[in-house]
């Protein structure tokens, strides 16, 4: 049978970065094809070429055996290609309906087609069991729901070839499962699907064939049935991945952070956090598990000084955190940092880095006052040396401190942020979604760093929606739902089902 898609010698470079070099492989019609590789391996670039977002510098692209020139997304859409991008392609201040209609309005007058589209969407939601309100505004939706909107868009457009670029990075296990249900349905309908993910288990669970990329080239293509996580990891990273990282025995020290009666209400008096209380000790990792959007982000913002709580007691090393007498949180994160609290924010692009600053400048962010000399000036030689050192230790690639950080792949951006915060030698480390969108090699190194930090006596509060990650790192687990802590477990008691129930708010009180 003709393959649905064939890449022939596709190459693409951005400036001096060779994102794709002589890529050759085929995707069989009606199959689910996995695409894996380290951060920056060129997966998104390749798929963007297929979707007409970028144009290849060289090579041919064949659809159903025909060479096609896909110059822009319109042409790709016309050819029946749909893509769910790594970063959401949604207009935040519009409704789901408008987002779906965008590009497929069906006429100059929107009203004519609004109601039919809406009806169709509701029907699709029902058929595929997607929980989305067509009339909701995107900015009000959780990331999971936004992901569902992206899927909904593609179903509505009934693409024949569907590209999904890391759709599961922000989904919970249940959400992932239901997405896969949909993908299987698609496959039954004869559609071709390309799935990019860093979670090898997912590859094994759903794909038929896998292509592995590294450094812009294809380094392997195998049938899923005949491979294993280890083999894939080996191909991706070039070395085996350790599954169980070594860690020192659990010996918690003095209480570092004591939280009790913490409340948070927003301007509309909606309760975001209710009665949060827990203690975090030196040398332990406490993970907060939960579906995203259940107050974890707000909790982290408060603990890092980015937001003021409504009430509650927060003590750090036995002393109250300096919230009192504050009318706004302006400048507070700096005070927290000076106390020894470091923070790896969950939304690194928004909070963690200044995209148009160089990598080197980003390694200063938050510590600018520590690094200035007595004239208030920077010694850029020393800072560049520090940055080079840090890029080496944390294996940031490319190791060029003068590059705009926005040009680095997500995983490498994350490494820079983590390196920066670790380097500050904090007493308490707040870590939000440290490995979202990060490849397995990098995950391993990030996990190693966090464990080393724990072993050296730092208290770590980890927020993660990945139960795998929680299991790999945590000493104790708190589960949050609806702004409350719904349960606590020791790592020995780890039990996916029970945690899942707690995450859903079903707990015996």
């Amino acid at each position: 049978m003709q393959p649905a898609v064939e890449f022939r010698n596709i190459s693409k470079h951005f400036g001096h970065v060779k994102a794709n070099t002589d890529v050759n492989f085929t995707i069989a019609k009606g199959s689910i094809h996995g695409l894996v590789g380290e951060n920056g391996a060129g997966k998104s670039t390749l798929m963007s070429i297929l979707y007409g977002y970028y144009r290849a510098d060289g090579g041919d692209l064949l659809l159903d055996g025909q060479v096609q020139q896909i110059r822009n997304s319109q042409e790709a859409i016309r050819l029946g290609i749909g893509m769910v991008h790594q970063h959401f392609m949604l207009v935040e201040n519009m409704t789901v309906l408008d987002n779906v209609m965008l590009g497929t309005e069906g006429g100059f007058q929107l009203a004519r087609h609004r109601s039919t589209t809406e009806a169709k969407l509701r029907e699709i939601c029902q058929r595929y069991r997607l929980d989305v309100d067509p009339l909701a505004t995107i900015s009000d939706l959780s990331v999971g729901a936004q992901q569902r909107v992206e899927i909904l868009k593609q179903i509505y457009r009934s693409a024949n070839i569907l590209i999904l670029d890391e759709p599961t990075a922000v989904l919970t296990a249940q959400e992932t499962a239901s997405l896969f249900e949909i993908l299987r349905l698609f496959k039954e309908q004869g559609k071709t699907i390309v799935l990019i993910t860093h979670k090898l288990q997912e590859i094994l669970d759903i794909t038929d064939t896998v292509t592995v990329m590294r450094g812009g080239r294809v380094v392997g293509a195998v049938a899923t049935a005949g491979t294993s996580k280890e083999e894939l990891a080996n191909m991706m990273v070039g070395r085996p991945i350790e599954n169980n990282l070594p860690r020192a025995p659990y010996k918690p020290g003095a209480p570092m952070l004591e939280v009790s009666g913490l409340q948070l209400q927003d301007a509309q008096q909606v309760k975001l956090l209710t009665d949060i209380g827990f203690t975090l000790r030196a040398g332990e990792i406490v993970a907060i598990a939960g579906v995203s959007g259940n107050g974890q982000s707000e909790l982290m913002e408060i603990l890092s000084g980015m937001r003021l709580p409504t009430s509650g007691q927060l003590r750090f090393e036995g002393k109250d955190l300096p919230f009192a007498k504050r009318s706004d949180a302006d400048g507070l994160p700096l005070e927290f940092r000076e106390l020894g609290i470091a923070h790896i924010p969950e939304d690194r692009l928004r909070d963690g880095v200044v995209k148009s600053f160089s990598v080197m400048h980003n390694t200063i962010l938050g510590y600018q006052d520590k690094l200035k000399n007595r004239w208030g000036l920077f010694d850029f030689k020393a800072i560049a040396a520090r940055c080079a050192e840090l890029m080496k230790t944390f294996d940031v690639r490319p190791a060029n401190g003068d590059l705009r950080i926005g040009l680095l792949s997500g995983g490498n951006q994350q490494k820079v942020v983590i390196a920066r915060e670790v380097l500050a030698q904090p007493k308490l480390m707040l870590v939000g979604q440290p490995t979202r969108g990060v490849d397995i090699g990098t995950i391993e190194s990030i996990h190693k760093q966090l464990l080393a930090l724990r072993d050296s006596g730092v208290a770590i509060l980890l927020v993660s929606v990945e139960l795998e990650e929680v299991r790999a790192l945590a000493d104790r687990i708190l589960v949050m739902c609806g702004g409350r802590i719904t349960g606590e477990l020791k790592i020995e008691e780890f039990d996916t089902t029970r945690i899942g129930l707690l995450m859903g708010g079903m707990h015996k009180s």
Binding site: I77, D98, G103
Partner: protein, 323 residues
Amino acid sequence: MTFDDFHFASILVSTVRNAPVLIFAAMAGLFAERSGVIDIGLEGKILASAFTSAAVAFATQNPWYGVAAGVLVSVALATLQGYVSITQKGNQLVAGIAINIAMSGLTFVVAQFFFQQGGRTPDLGQARLFDVVLPGSAAVEGIPFIGWLYGHLIGGHSVLVYLAFGLVPLVHWVLYHSRFGLRLRACGENPHAADAAGVSVERQRYMAMLVAGVLCSFSGAYLAIVQSGFFLRDMSAGAGYLALTAMVFGNWRPVYTFLGCLMFGFFGAVQIQIEGVDLPGIGRIPGSLIQMVPYVVTVIVLAGLMAKSVAPKALGTPFVKSR
């Protein structure tokens, strides 16, 4: 002071007459900016179309040729601005400011070259656009209130005034209820999303600039061939910037922007009325201080009442496919 000194009727009529210059320009700016292109070049386009309209209306002795020529020139400028901002991906503020400065000079030079009157065109005389008298105005003239309402507030304006006021619901409809508007807003908020949905961002932005060019030209035409009856150097006198202000004030939404324009028109009219009048408790405010009434009011309203303004997210950033 009595209520009679404070000619409310006259203020309202004056508001209606003052507003169109701002309404046309602000609506033009709205299209450009909702598509993601900053339009600080309104002033230059107003000036250029004011000159062209007046010059052509004079030469042909037909105001409508003047209006048409103004549209052409304004659209040409908008296209240039679009070319720089969209295709060249240049700095949009620079492009706009450059156009403002260049037009301030060029209109003078050309006017001087052709008419030798110090950058002024001759009087248009009969080639002006005159006020429309609504049918039956004379009949109701005598009736208190109704006569005024029908004959002076609603009637008795130039066609362009009706166009300006009629434009507002139209713009609202186009922006929120048409395909064009949906795509426009998407391009201004998240051009990457629009692009991924198969909308050509560049094309959409060019179209927005064209619409902006057309609308903006009416502002100039109104100034020259309705309000003044000739062109005079720099006669836009900051109207483009005020229109921009009204738009920001209205949070880039047509109806609120329109209200912003009316507000400027209204306080401009109030300011005329209270000049030299003894206000109870305050006394007579010196003329030069009265001039600042509309601006002070704007600041107070902005600072006191408005929520944070939310510009289109992609405003000012050329669309480049990269991270």
